[in-house]
């Protein structure tokens, strides 16, 4: 359903005010994911996970240099198509809580999302209420303004917005940061059930351990490259079935496993730097 081929993204930076250089943030990234599955994208901070989400949604700044292609339902995803699909067929759960409009009550905002995906006003309002309830947000939270919500509640409002719409591709960018374990499990299982309904859910996270039980496939990203795409079942034992050294190290580093970072990665990083 979603296929990404040789995606390279460069963004400009200005070391002096008269100089412009480009830094590579995504480097020949490729993977594909099928409808009805949950695809986790895991990597350290700065690996380019959020930029990948923004690239798929077409939310990059105008001065970005992009090469490579994205295909959505076997059709090329260009700027015009992205504009059309955004909010209707593709939904992003953003990482930043600033994405909420500070001057609008939450249920109204959620109903906007439902409205955008094709529901009439009244139906959208009801869908918004249901979506909020689904994430344990009551009427009081629905009437609240974003600043009145806690960080965890605001994050659940963002997730509810993606839930209220009819999007068939949902990109969740770190939806569980700042949630306590109970809420985190609830949000993750809600994402899993969206995948069961035949949607494609892309879960972007740094938390490999909690992504594994619900994911079908995992793409490991490191410094803008997709190091490896493996089925979630490959992350067992010592991770022998994983092909790349980085993915193995990441798996080994978890506290349930060896809790060690082998030296190979360090040498690699130094040679890159």
């Amino acid at each position: 359903m979603l296929r990404i081929e040789q995606l390279t993204l460069e963004l400009p930076y200005y070391p002096r005010w008269w100089q412009r250089r480009f830094a590579t943030h995504l480097d020949q990234l490729s993977f594909s994911a099928a409808a009805g599955s949950l695809h986790a994208v895991v990597g350290a901070s700065g690996a380019g996970k959020s930029l990948l989400a923004h690239t798929i949604m077409g939310l990059l700044p105008a001065n970005a240099r992009l090469s490579g292609q994205c295909f959505y339902q076997e059709t090329l995803l260009d700027a015009k198509r992205q504009r059309h699909l955004r909010g209707r067929h593709m939904a992003l759960i953003p990482q930043s809580l600033n994405a909420l409009d500070p001057l609008v009550r939450t249920q109204r905002q959620v109903s906007w999302a439902a409205n955008r995906s094709g529901l009439a006003h009244k139906a959208a309002w009801q869908a918004a209420g249901q979506a909020l309830n689904h994430y344990q947000l009551d009427d009081r939270a629905g009437r609240a303004y974003p600043h009145e919500l806690s960080g965890g509640m605001a994050r659940r409002v963002l997730t509810a917005m993606a839930h209220a719409g009819q999007a068939s591709l949902i990109i969740a960018d770190e939806p569980t940061v700042g949630l306590d374990p109970v809420q985190r499990d609830r949000v993750l299982s809600a994402l899993r059930s969206l995948a069961h309904q035949g949607k494609l859910v892309i879960l972007i996270t740094h938390d490999l351990r909690h992504a594994l039980p619900i994911a079908d496939h995992v793409t490991i990203m490191h410094q803008g490259r997709s190091v490896e795409t493996a089925p979630a079942s490959a992350f067992t034992g010592m991770g022998e079935t994983l092909k790349s050294a980085y993915a193995q190290t990441l798996w080994q580093a978890l506290p349930d496993n060896a809790f060690s970072a082998s030296e190979i990665i360090h040498k690699k990083e130094e040679s890159v730097a």
Binding site: S45, H206, L208, R209, L250, A253, P255, F259, A261
Partner: protein, 204 residues
């Protein structure tokens, strides 16, 4: 030994959070503290570091009260390093406010020399967290309260941070209280482990 003796604590107009809690961390010992969110883990950590005063009971550090001025022998490491540094100070100033760490220690924590000249906003959370941990290791410090310091880090950075801290704690015989809801992490790091539930501690 860092000791809490029969501590009671409540925030204003709220039901009591901690009810006669007693616990201890020996020098050179790693102790875990887990609990549900809202159970008062962080508050207990902050009480031990002198951020709050207990309503009754007391905090004793090696047989003495916490000093009221200067760098405290108990340092609290918060979860979000972004909020713990002045965004307008360069990293070198942030670090040197506490002490001048030797280069070898900077290297052990993976801190690159060019970070020191940058503003905190241009460093990632993991990089900033290492700065904050190093800042808290000033010479007079004997106990650390690590409050969820690695939740926001990816597994590899997490391991590197803990290993560096473990090595330093061993050479200086620091006592460390690891606050986390990740029991796997606590089991890896600590020799014993408290669980905070309804305002009271249980041994695990």
């Amino acid at each position: 030994m860092l000791e809490a003796c029969q501590i009671d604590f409540a925030f204003t107009a709220q039901p009591p959070l901690l009810k006669s809690v007693s616990m201890g961390v020996n020098a050179g010992e790693w102790v875990g503290l887990s609990g549900d969110s809202g159970a008062g883990k962080s508050t207990l950590g902050q009480l031990l570091a002198g951020y709050y005063l207990p309503h009754s009971g007391r905090v004793v550090v090696d047989g003495e009260k916490l000093p009221s001025r200067g760098i405290k022998p108990v340092q609290w490491l918060p979860q979000s390093p972004e909020l713990a540094v002045n965004p307008r100070w360069r990293v070198s100033r942030v670090l040197n406010e506490a002490w001048m760490p030797p280069d070898a220690l900077c290297r052990a924590f993976g801190i690159k020399p060019d970070w020191l000249n940058r503003l905190p906003g241009s460093l990632s959370g993991g990089e900033l967290q290492r700065i904050c941990v190093l800042r808290a290791l000033a010479p007079g410090v004997r106990y650390l309260i690590a409050d969820e310091i690695s939740t926001m880090l990816d597994p590899i950075t997490q391991v590197e941070l803990w290993q560096a801290l473990k090595a330093e704690a061993q050479t200086r015989r620091l006592g460390v209280l690891v606050i986390s809801h990740d029991t796997a992490l606590i089991k890896r790091l600590c020799s014993r482990h408290y669980h905070l539930k309804r305002g009271q501690l249980e041994d695990c």
